[in-house]
Structures are given as structure tokens and as C-alpha cells.
């Protein structure tokens, strides 16, 4: 007799995707549900003081193993953390000085920012949001190019194809689908590049979040969805955003594995993301990683955080600062000494100084260029409008000259 649990109704056969999950979970000796659901607790390697958590308390287990990265990688991550914090704070200052139009800071989220960049190979791709400046810079894009759009220029500054980094996306979660498409194209060509798709907690309410996870699972493409849960979507807290047990739990509904990690623990973030990227590449499968972190500053300079959260809450998170934890850990393990710490601080200072200089200079923009890239060749209407603006500019110059 057919087992009703394993024999589907005709026309209702399970997607092939299910068998991949079955395969993966079997290899870990656990059920597909145990594999897809996040571990019993957040993955955490360092406690709030920066002390290494005993292995049995890290939250890891079969199918949820996260080996700690090598010392060299950890040191690199620390350097990027220090630079990231310095970049955040420099840009924050530049906004106050009126040199930048806007800057959504990731102050407090730097472990996530750095982890997102360092888990990828050069041939992989990243699709960031407007709050992921530090990730984009950590990936190797010139900080001055990244900041161009925040200065108020009309374009994204860098070449997305050269760096394999999408233009930082403002419309929430729309870029997750771009990530799926990039991964699908790579898969059709037989390439094994992984795509990291980034979004925040609020963005998980958007329809494209659902569509992207579903498409990725059905297409069986190696996309790692990386959700930085920083507690707030501008003013709206997570409790008003989702009733799910965690955002990592959303994965199982689409047939992919989800994990939740302490987003202020640099070691855990990097370990979890590296493992996710590895699994995605090996199995051509999407995964979701939710990092629980905190936005230490307002949404942007235009936001007033005192209207929706207490100072005390912010102070509590200050005590979980990813930088101090990592510094304490690396120092106590003997991975970071004074010399290295000094070099790292100097390098960060250099980046900040170059940002200051570049953003204080007046950009030499050519207003006529706004017509040049709308189409491969401008239409007759755009050519006429270009000529009109050109004429206006020339008359303005003549008038200025006459005065």
C-alpha cells in the first residue's frame, strides 16, 4: 500500500527543490525541517565582553556547523571593522557640515557590513542597499566612488560590473530579485559564482522579498539572502513588522535553510556567512542568514530617533559594540598586537582623510551629461532638450561675465 505521506496526489508532486534539501539534510544526519529551521539559539562565538563562548553554547550543531575563520581572516575583518566605523563617523560629520546630501549610517552594524564583503570570492556578486556603504567599500570599491551618490550626484559612482557589486538600491528588496537573476544567468552558463543579496528587517515585509526567496528556491540558485535586522524600519520596530518567530524562520516556507546569528559578533557573522556561501556554492541552493544587530544612529540625518526609542535602549546596545568585542578577543588570543592595531588605525584615518578632502571639493559636473545615458543614443527630443540646456548655460555664463 502507498504511504500517504510519501506518495503525492497526481499533479501535486513535490518540486525537485525538496529533494535537494532532503539530500543536504541527510548528509548531516538530520531531518529537512531541522536543516531548514534556524538553530535553537542565535549563533554566537563571542560574548558581549569579547570572550570566546564555549563550543557547546555557540548554538552550533549537526547541519549548523560554523567553523571559526583563520586568524589571518579575523585580523583582516578587524581592520575592515575599524575602517568601517571611521567611514561611518566621518560621513556622519560630513552630512552635518553640509558636504553630503544624506548618509544612512551603519554605525553599530559594522560586523555585518564587513562579514558581507569578506565572505565572498572575487568572482561572487553583492547586491547592497543604501545602508551598506561599508560593505561596498570593504569589497574593494573606491570609497570616493561609493560616496558620489550621497554627495547628491545623479549616478551611483562605481562600475557595478567591474566590482560585481550592484548599485546600492533604494527601493526596498527590489535588488534581491536582481541577485536571483545574476545567479540564474551564472548557473545557465555553468559558472559557480554565489550572490549575496542584502536587505533589512523592514524590507522583509515587501513583496519582492517573498518573490526573490521563492524564485531562488525554485530555480535552485546560489543566493545567500543576508538580512540585517537592526530593530527598526525608520521608526517602526520589528514587532510591528513581523509576527514570525524570527526572520530566519521565513526561509523554511520557501524550502530553503535559515540561520540567525548575533550580528554584533564579528566572528560569528563571518563564520555563518562563509559557511552559507560555501553551502550555496556546493549545492547550488539559496540560504538565508538573519543577523540581529542594532542601528545605533538615526535612520538618516533627516530622522529624529528620540520620537520612537529610549536612550537607555541605545545605551544597552552600546555595550554590545562589535568593535570592542572583536578587539578584546583578538588581543587576548594574541592575534592583534599594538603594532598591528596602530597600522589599522592609521589606515582607517587615511580613508577618512581622503573622504574629507574629496567631499569638501566642489565636484566638476557637466550638466549636459544628464541626457547622455538615458538611451544608448539620445532621442530627437532629448537632443533638443540638451541643446536648450546648453543654450541656457551659455547665456548664464555670458550674463555672469557681463556683471
Amino acid at each position: 500500500m502507498d504511504d500517504p505521506k510519501t506518495t503525492p496526489e497526481p499533479g501535486h508532486e513535490k518540486a525537485e527543490q525538496a529533494s535537494r534539501i532532503f539530500e543536504a539534510s541527510r548528509s548531516f544526519g538530520i531531518t529537512p525541517e531541522q536543516y531548514m529551521l534556524p538553530a535553537q539559539q542565535q549563533i554566537r562565538m563571542l560574548d558581549a565582553q569579547g570572550t570566546l563562548v564555549p563550543v557547546e553554547q555557540q548554538g552550533t550543531g549537526p547541519g549548523h556547523e560554523y567553523p571559526i575563520p583563520e586568524d589571518e581572516v579575523l585580523l583582516k575583518a578587524y581592520a575592515a571593522l575599524v575602517a568601517g566605523r571611521r567611514i561611518n563617523d566621518q560621513n556622519y560629520a560630513l552630512v552635518r557640515q553640509g558636504r553630503l546630501a544624506v548618509y544612512p549610517s551603519s554605525h553599530g552594524q559594522e560586523a555585518c557590513q564587513v562579514g558581507a564583503a569578506l565572505c565572498l570570492e572575487p568572482g561572487d556578486w553583492m547586491f547592497p542597499t543604501y545602508r551598506d556603504t561599508v560593505s561596498v567599500i570593504s569589497r574593494g570599491v573606491d570609497p570616493l566612488e561609493v560616496m558620489v551618490s550621497f554627495r547628491g550626484d545623479w549616478h551611483c559612482g562605481y562600475d557595478p560590473k567591474e566590482h560585481r557589486v550592484g548599485a546600492m538600491s533604494t527601493p526596498l528588496t527590489t535588488q534581491l530579485l536582481h541577485a536571483v537573476g545574476v545567479a540564474h544567468a551564472a548557473k545557465l552558463r555553468g559558472e559557480d559564482s554565489v550572490v549575496l543579496a542584502m536587505c533589512g528587517d523592514g524590507a522583509t515585509s515587501e513583496g519582492d522579498f517573498h518573490e526573490a526567496l521563492n524564485f531562488a528556491a525554485v530555480f535552485e540558485v546560489p543566493v545567500v539572502f543576508f538580512v540585517q535586522n537592526n530593530g527598526y524600519a525608520i521608526s517602526v520596530p520589528l514587532s510591528s513588522q513581523s509576527a514570525a518567530p524570527s526572520l530566519a524562520h521565513k526561509a523554511i516556507g520557501y524550502g530553503l535553510a535559515g540561520e540567525q546569528v548575533d550580528g554584533n559578533d564579528m566572528v560569528a557573522v563571518l563564520a555563518t556567512l562563509r559557511r552559507a556561501v560555501h553551502l550555496a556554492r556546493e549545492n547550488s541552493m539559496p540560504l538565508l542568514v538573519e543577523a540581529v544587530t542594532y542601528r545605533m544612529q538615526a535612520h538618516t540625518n533627516a530622522d529624529d530617533e528620540t520620537r520612537y526609542r529610549d536612550r537607555e535602549e541605545v545605551e544597552q546596545w552600546k555595550r554590545k559594540d562589535p568593535l570592542l568585542r572583536m578587539q578584546t578577543f583578538l588581543t587576548s588570543e594574541g592575534i592583534l598586537d599594538d603594532d598591528a592595531a596602530g597600522r589599522i588605525t592609521d589606515a582607517a584615518e587615511k580613508v577618512a582623510s581622503s573622504l574629507r578632502q574629496a567631499m569638501t571639493a566642489e565636484p566638476a559636473e557637466n550638466p549636459l551629461e544628464i541626457f547622455d545615458h538615458v538611451y544608448t543614443a539620445p532621442t530627437a527630443q532629448l537632443l533638443a532638450q540638451r541643446a536648450q540646456l546648453d543654450d541656457e548655460l551659455q547665456r548664464a555664463t555670458t550674463t555672469e561675465g557681463a556683471q
Binding site: 548599485a167 527590489t174 534581491l176 530579485l177 536582481h178 544567468a185 545557465l188 518573490e211 545615458h373 532621442t379
Partner: protein, 344 residues
Amino acid sequence: MSTITATSTTTFASALNTAMSDAMEADESVVVFGEDVGTLGGVFRITDGLTKRFGANRCFDTPLAESGIAGTAVGMAINGMRPVIEMQFDAFAFPALEQIFSHIAKMANRTRGRVRLPIVIRIPYGGGVGGVEHHCDSSEAYYAHTAGLKVFTPATAADAYLMLREAIDTDDPVVFFEPKKLYWSKAPEDLSTLRQTYESDSAHSRQIGAQGQAVVVREGTDVSIISYGPSVATAVKAAEAAAEDGISAEVLDMRSLVPFDEAGLIRTVEKTGRAVVVAEAQGFVSVASEITARIQERCFHSLASPVLRVTGFDIPYPAPKLEEHHLPDVDRILDALDEMQWED
């Protein structure tokens, strides 16, 4: 449908199907996807046989989500593909508008021309087929209004083939509006001749190019009837009827709304001195409005009569029982001609 026989008659649908299979044959990066486009061949069978011929990697069904289809196309185009995506019906494309407006239209500009998205979004549109609500919209104005998109709409089988080939080959994103009431219309065209023409010299056989290229489909001297897509055939019938009343009407098929062939428009209106603009879409804030405004701006001194519009009413599409009262027809165009000023 995917194989071409020696017959010299083709349908509009077959021309589109052949254009896609020829483009897929010519370029491995061309991929076709959407809802039901694989095994079924699309609800209108426009992608019939493509999966069988090119495999499920080149023509495939997606989950049922239009934003997902458009957004995935963005990523595939970023990574070297030339996606041709199908929106099953005009009004079903609306969930994809954010991807189309905020990314497909703007990516080239946002990246200073470094990332171009050679995506074709095929949309069956318009009424006259007895479709129910959400199946008969003429939504071209939304796309034509969005900078960065090209908007093509063929009115003949030859244009269906040549313009779709061109749309797939162009590096700009193209919204390709297919008048669904023309799908099964037959025309004396030989697709293999069209293919030879296009493939031997695609630069010269391009119908639209950078500036658009409207065509005069019927010569006349007294009035210009300006139209596109599903209304062109109606405009030609009206011109033939007007000829019996002694009015010589010229019919212009715009073919492409973006780029817009302003020079071609000016030419015909300056020649005839009168213009009626015909389109199925509701007239308020429409492509017909834009054409009318341009005639007024550019041809004022050549005009012997106010420019008139014959369009759908400003109502939700009344499908299907009352659609005949809504769609511009020959009589309504003739009424407009009657209304024009004919004495000097």
C-alpha cells in the same frame, strides 16, 4: 509554428514566434521566460515550441509573480543575458511596474551607461477580443511616460517580425506592445524573406532606430489620421470610407512611441493641414494627447482645422459586452472628420 514553411502567408502571432526563435538561434544569450511560456507555449501560443527547440534553460516557466519576472530579468541582463519576458496580459504587468520604472528604465542612467539592460518586455494589449476585466487595457502611456524605456507597437505581421528582432537586438530596454486582436490576422508575408533581409543587413532593416520611423501606410492630401498598434487597421478602413465621400486621408502608423518620430509626424501634417489622432487608450493624459500637443506646437501655421482625438472613453475598460461602444471605430473617426473645418 516554430518552423517556417514555404508559404507566403503568415499570422501576426507566427511572425512574433519566428522572431523569437530566430533571435535565440542567432544569439545564445537570448532567453525567454514568463508565466506559461514553456510547456504550454503561452496563453496566446506566441512562445509555442521554443522550449522544445531550445531547451528549458532558454525558454522557461517562472513562478507566478510579475515583479519576480521583471526583477530576475534585471539580474540576468546585468550578467550578460538578453531576456525576453512575457507579461501574460496588459493589466497583469502592473505588479512589475516598480522593477520596470525604478530599475529597468533607470539602470543605464544610474550607472552612467556602464550597465545597460537589453530586456524586452512583451505585453499583449488592447481590446476587441471579448476579454474580461484586466485583459484588455491599453497601458502604453505609463511606459511611454517613463524615461529610459523604449515603447514599440507593431501593426503588421512584417513589423511584428522585424521590430521584435530589433527590440531584442537593441541594448535599451524595450516594452513591446502586441495588439492581441491582431494575433490571428493573416498577411501575405514570407517570414524567410524577412529573416534574410534582417540577418543580411540588420542595420538597414531596422524599422525604428534611434529616432523612430513612422510610416505612411496610405497616402492622402486632405487630412492625416495618426495612429499606432491596433488602431492602424481601423484608421485605414476609415480613410477608405472617407475616400467615398471625396476626402483624401493619409494614414500614419507611428510604430514606436519611444523613440518618437516627430519629423515624420510633422511631414504628414504639413502636407495635409489637418490631423485626427486615433488610439484605443482613454484619451485623458494619453499618448494621443502628446501627439496632439506636438502637432499644435510644431505645425500650428500649417493647420486648417483644430486637431482632434478619437480615443477610448475615460472609463475603466468595459469588457466584453459593451466594448464595441468604447473602442474607436470607423464611424467615430468619420464623425471626427465631419467635425473638422473644411472651408478656408
